[in-house]
């Protein structure tokens, strides 16, 4: 997309129907808002595996989704929703990314081939999104992104019965979304013990909040296609599909240990390395996949 977009634009005219291009602008803003906040989402990630990549996974999934429509002039909202799902499906990363793709799947299935979106269709879309997302797991865990999506759909239904304005409904969706996120620790013990709210749910509300901002005329620019975003992505992307792996800490005891040599070896094994000590004792911290770590240990037997 061009980077010379005006810094503000007029609110979506509520008398104008919400069409495919409106959804495109909203998806773009959802992506942009997540891009600005994904590190916060990463920091919250303790469930199901505390590997700190929820925000990154959702961001890469949304990026893949938006890429499908970035150059599309499609006016039909059903068609745009379908393209977003296709992109999210192909780029889905991690648990939260797969769930996000299923939410888009349900949304696009409900919108079907409709030309434009009204409040009723928005409610149906969110309800079907939730139903679809719940279907793809045997025992859904409450206090996660699934709970947040369900409460968002419920809020949309109530709001729609009060006021048939899409903007009003969207405001209520975001409000209820944050409220649901705040209550996730009450539903899931792992979150409560770690003192965090659910990361996936938080990521979802950031996307919705970005969409709300676009609807209210706020312009959010995505970093896609520029150099900084590319650097960011390569710095973030874990080396393999299994993510960041494990946070490993250990001590090496011995005689005549070469700290510099150990540091070089450890740095080759993973990320966020810390190697300190002297010739008798070295403390090591490294983030690595167990597989990569162990194989490297075996290959470097001299300090084992």
């Amino acid at each position: 997309m061009s980077s010379s977009k005006p810094s503000s634009q007029s609110p979506e005219d509520s008398s104008q129907p919400c069409n495919g291009q409106s959804l495109k602008r909203m998806a773009r803003a959802g992506l942009a808002w997540l891009e600005k906040n994904y590190e916060k989402v990463n920091a919250l990630n303790v469930f199901p595996v505390p590997d700190g990549d929820t925000g990154t996974n959702m961001l890469l999934t949304m990026r893949s989704a938006y890429k499908e429509i970035a150059n599309s002039d499609e006016k039909n909202i059903g068609r745009v929703a379908q393209l977003i799902y296709n992109g999210a499906l192909m780029g889905a990363r991690g648990n939260s990314g797969v769930i996000l793709s299923q939410l888009w799947r349900g949304f696009s299935a409900a919108i079907d081939s409709s030309e434009t979106l009204d409040v009723q269709l928005l409610v149906r879309g969110l309800q079907e999104a939730t139903r679809t997302a719940y279907r793809a797991v045997q025992e859904p865990v409450e206090g996660t992104i699934l709970t947040v999506s369900r409460e968002v759909a419920e809020a949309a239904e109530i709001a729609a019965s009060e006021n048939a304005d899409v903007r009003y409904v969207m405001d209520q969706i975001v409000r209820q979304g944050w409220d649901a996120v705040k209550r996730t620790p009450q539903m899931l013990a792992v979150l409560r013990e770690a003192g965090v709210v659910d990361s996936g749910g938080c990521g979802l509300v950031y996307v919705l909040e970005g969409m709300q901002k676009a609807l209210n005329g706020e312009s959010l620019d995505i970093e896609a296609d520029n150099e900084r975003a590319a650097q960011l992505q390569s710095a973030l992307a874990p080396q393999d599909e299994l993510g960041y792996g494990y946070d490993v800490q250990f001590l090496i005891k011995g005689q005549g240990l070469d700290v510099e040599k150990v540091r070089a070896d450890i740095e080759a094994m993973g990320d966020s390395t810390l190697v300190v000590g002297d010739s008798n004792l070295i403390k090591v911290h490294v983030q690595s996949t167990i597989r990569g770590f162990l194989s490297a240990m075996v290959l470097n037997r001299e300090f084992c």
Partner: protein
Amino acid sequence: MTNQNHEKLGTIHVSPAAIATIASHALLTSYGVVGMASKNAINELAAQITRDPHHGVNVRYENGHIIIDLYVIIEHGTRISSVAASVINAVRFNVEKMVGLPVQQINLYVQGLRVNTSH
């Protein structure tokens, strides 16, 4: 065969069945996994008759290392590579956290996809 941990006061044995229970539980809540399957038709029949609580999970020790085989059915319309990676990650994390022993290998077999007729 069971795995042993030598402690000061004796040994701790962790049976493959115990590990299979942990893995089965992790699979129930793994997103994208909609069912378990067996390695082959004979195993499937046996699992149905005995109502095997660890259906589709096979744990064994090789030279003291834990190796887990998983046979799963995944929801059609999800990105299978991502679902598979998350499943392996979740099973590994839960087993290692609860048992305290490293898992050497997890092999995941996608035995089928469930197509949802309502779509």
